[in-house]
Subunit: 132 residues, 2 copies
DNA sequence: CTGTATCCTGTTCGATACTG
DNA sequence: CAGTATCGAACAGGATACAG
């Protein structure tokens, strides 16, 4: 059997797997959560609605661009709602939806594991880097 | 009060926040998990040890470079162990550590939420995109 | 078999400036 | 106040070739 066939089969498998991943719900969720700021926004909104500028102040490290972009993404996914109050100056509030709140236990699970075990991870890293 | 002072204060806050984030265990964990392949590797190893080529076959979409890179990262974090058997040809097995296994419930929590709610997210996306 | 090294492409993201 | 638009540097990540 020629090599070309085997390599073609591999490419085919890769293609199918990538198509599968594109549809895989877990991967899609992970893609959203992996955004650097998404979890921080969710956590900030867990205590109640906040205005744009409140978020910008609480999550001090984020750029305007990324904050807006992440908020849009979360809004699009139905995890939060954006309420514009047409006053002068305009006022925009962000609030978790029920769907967004249902995600919080997952975020908290991540947080709890991190706070419980991250020192072990850091120790492992130090040991690994030490050995060189 | 001159504007420069306010802007300097903002920069200072941003700097401090970024320093805080760099130390925040949750952020560090999220940074690891957000790697495209890490969760897939963890899931693949949840059922037992696998060889490099087994992983490459199961996670068909990954490039050699990223697979190796992700495995090294997980090894460094103490989540899996890499065992080299010096035969010809050489054989390398990867296996979750206790620490790695302790992370699995978190990964599963993400998976369960995704499988339960991702259709709502997709519906929200469709609605959002439809409105334009 | 299990990688490492290199090149090269697309994407991400911060900074900056501008708008309703 | 709450964004939008644009530019450029930095990085991620795939393809390919090579090595122990």
């Amino acid at each position: 059997m020629p090599t070309t066939t085997a390599s073609r089969r591999r490419e085919q498998a890769k293609f199918e797997y990538n198509a599968f991943l594109a549809l895989c719900p877990t991967r899609q969720l992970l893609d959203s959560l992996s955004d650097k700021w998404v979890c921080l926004i969710l956590a900030a909104l867990a205590d109640g609605p906040l205005r744009y500028s409140d978020l910008a102040r609480q999550i001090a490290g984020v750029s305007q661009k990324m904050l807006t972009q992440s908020l849009r993404s979360l809004e699009r996914d139905g995890l939060l709602i954006r309420t514009v109050t047409a006053s002068v100056p305009v006022r925009v509030d962000y609030e978790l939806t029920a769907l967004g709140e249902s995600l919080m236990p997952v975020v908290r699970a991540v947080k709890i594991w991190a706070e419980t075990h991250m020192d072990e991870v850091l120790a492992a890293r130090a040991a690994y880097d030490g050995e060189g």
